[in-house]
């Protein structure tokens, strides 16, 4: 599995999990803006919303590319099986990302009469991409049948109630990330309106998490046994307590009109959910049957790619941090109108 006792598959598993988490959190809030767009009819406020993420949204999507490429290099079996199983929702996600990406450029160039088309592309693209991602997560958690290192399911297996509900759940989660992001980045009417939306979104998300959680345990009784064994139970209880504390903190700081804390608590909520998900699947990379070691590429490939990754990851982290730092602060109407 490794070279001189180093478990390369484990390291790669952690890198990919980290990359996907960064993606979910960061592209989450800019996709969320597209989901919130229909609730904000004012053109100028829409400009502000887009401008809050204009310098960073495409950088956020770097993590998606990183996750995909790392999966290809380190776990080719998982790449082959998962991408084949989820072919259509992933294609739909890409279509959505294309439309919203183009909308960023063309919306500001179009004539006022035509602008609504790009608004629609932004809204539709964001919704489609988010919903598809939720479906992908749902179908992934439901399990992907593998026989003889080949995908053994049907091309439309993902079209089931559970993945579709997960799609709706993710739309709400990203909307919450988006609304709390706007609390940080905007002021005036837009900020107060976001303050109004955040509370119901947070409560709705908690309800969805509850539904999806119970449903998951019903679909996979083995998970219930896993979580209730000694050691796991404490971790699980810890995650739930922390999530409740984060929800409480979110609602409280929201009431106290804090600008940054609601976003931080939302990030914590997403992180806790993600950790819970990762621990439920671990050590599988294709649930329910293929572990990260069974799906690994040869150690030489993993090591070769790892050397590159160890150089490039700090660079990505640094420029990501830098771009957020440079464009810190509130965005006002008329700002960055170029």
């Amino acid at each position: 599995m490794g070279i001189q006792g180093i478990d390369l598959s484990l390291i790669w598993g952690v890198i990919i999990a980290f990359g996907v988490m960064m993606y979910v959190i960061m592209d989450g809030f800019d996709l969320g803006l597209g989901i919130l767009f229909p609730l904000i009819p004012d053109e100028q406020e829409r400009d502000v919303m887009m401008n809050t993420v204009a310098p960073v949204w495409d950088g956020n999507e770097t993590w998606l590319v990183l996750g995909g490429a790392a999966l290809y290099g380190a776990f080719p079996l998982a790449y082959g099986v998962i991408l084949e199983a989820l072919y259509l929702p992933l294609i739909l996600m890409l279509c959505g990302l294309i439309f919203r990406g183009v909308a960023f450029e063309f919306r500001f160039k179009s004539s006022p009469q035509k602008r609504h088309w790009w608004d629609k592309a932004f809204i539709g693209g964001s919704l489609l991409a988010t919903f598809s991602q939720g479906v992908v997560i749902g179908a992934y958690v439901s399990g992907i049948p593998v026989v003889d290192r080949q995908f053994a399911g049907g091309g439309l297996d993902w079209l089931a109630p559970f993945p579709l509900v997960c799609g709706v759940g993710l739309v709400i989660a990203y909307a919450l990330l988006g609304s709390t992001w706007l609390l940080v980045k905007t002021e005036g009417m837009l900020e107060s309106r976001m303050r109004l939306f955040t509370r119901p979104l947070a409560l709705l998300l908690m309800a969805m998490v509850l539904v999806i959680g119970v449903w998951t345990l019903q679909l996979h009784p083995e998970l219930a046994t896993r979580w209730s064994t000694h050691g796991h139970l404490q971790v699980f209880a810890g995650l739930v307590v922390l999530a409740l504390l984060a929800l409480f903190g979110l609602l409280r700081t929201l009431r106290q009109r804090h600008t940054h804390w609601p976003f931080v608590f939302t990030l914590v909520l997403m992180l806790l959910g993600y950790i819970g998900l990762a621990l439920s699947i671990w050590p599988n990379i294709i649930p329910p049957s293929v572990s990260i070691w069974a799906a690994a590429s040869p150690p030489s490939s993993q090591l070769f790619a790892l050397i590159g990754a160890l150089f490039i990851l700090p660079v990505i982290l640094m420029y990501t941090f830098w771009s957020y730092y440079v464009f810190r602060g509130k965005v006002r109407i008329g700002d960055g109108y170029h």
Binding site: C95, K114, G336
Partner: protein, 197 residues
């Protein structure tokens, strides 16, 4: 060999115009070593040579033409006639899409040229295909064609508008304080609004 009409059935190139030794010099760095001939590969291991023959020449020919236009421009600049020579300007305008066309031709050359292999000697393209139904694959392909045509036609329309407008004098105004932090999009340098259709 510079030019000719390839004939896949007869396995030869008609009306060939050749420079002896050049290919050998480029590929093997010597005048007398042999380049393995296409005919030495079994027929089922060969790509479609007609397509590659032409796509490669389109790419390389356009590349040569670009260099030539560059040198011509330099000569005119030195002669002080760059801004007056209408013929040259028309030529440069016509060369506008050459980069894109050469790029596509080069891409076709590599992708068609490696057929029938995905991994050379190990995996056939045929065996690498996913098990999805024809319906799924064609739906997604059609989807991409539609999306790209939509997005590209808008983009090309905008580019044409910028071309028609011509170069605009650049007004330098240093951003004041806060404006330094204002986000800019990649095409923010273009000031024209999109066409009112």
């Amino acid at each position: 060999m510079l030019f000719g009409i390839p004939d896949m059935q007869a396995e030869k190139t008609k009306y060939a115009l050749e420079i002896p030794y050049l290919g050998s010099l480029i590929l093997t760095h010597s005048l007398d070593k042999q380049i393995p001939a296409l005919k030495s590969f079994p027929k089922e291991d060969r790509p479609n040579s007609t397509v590659i023959f032409w796509s490669f020449r389109v790419m390389a020919g356009l590349g040569m033409l670009m260099i030539l236009v560059g040198l011509l421009g330099l000569a005119l600049r030195w002669g002080g006639k760059l801004y007056q020579h209408r013929g040259f300007q028309r030529l440069v305008l016509l060369m506008g899409p050459s980069g894109l066309i050469a790029l596509l031709a080069g891409w076709i050359t590599t992708e068609v040229g490696r057929q029938p292999w995905v991994v050379y000697g190990l995996l056939r393209t045929h065996d690498a295909a996913s098990h999805h139904s024809v319906a799924q694959m064609s739906t997604s392909l059609a989807l991409f064609v539609v999306i790209y045509f939509t997005v590209f036609s808008v983009g090309i329309g905008y580019m044409m508008k910028l071309v028609k407008k011509g170069p605009q004098p650049h007004h330098e105004h240093p951003p004041a304080g806060d404006e330094l932090q204002a986000p800019r999009r990649p095409i923010s340098a273009a000031t024209a609004p999109m066409k009112e259709h």
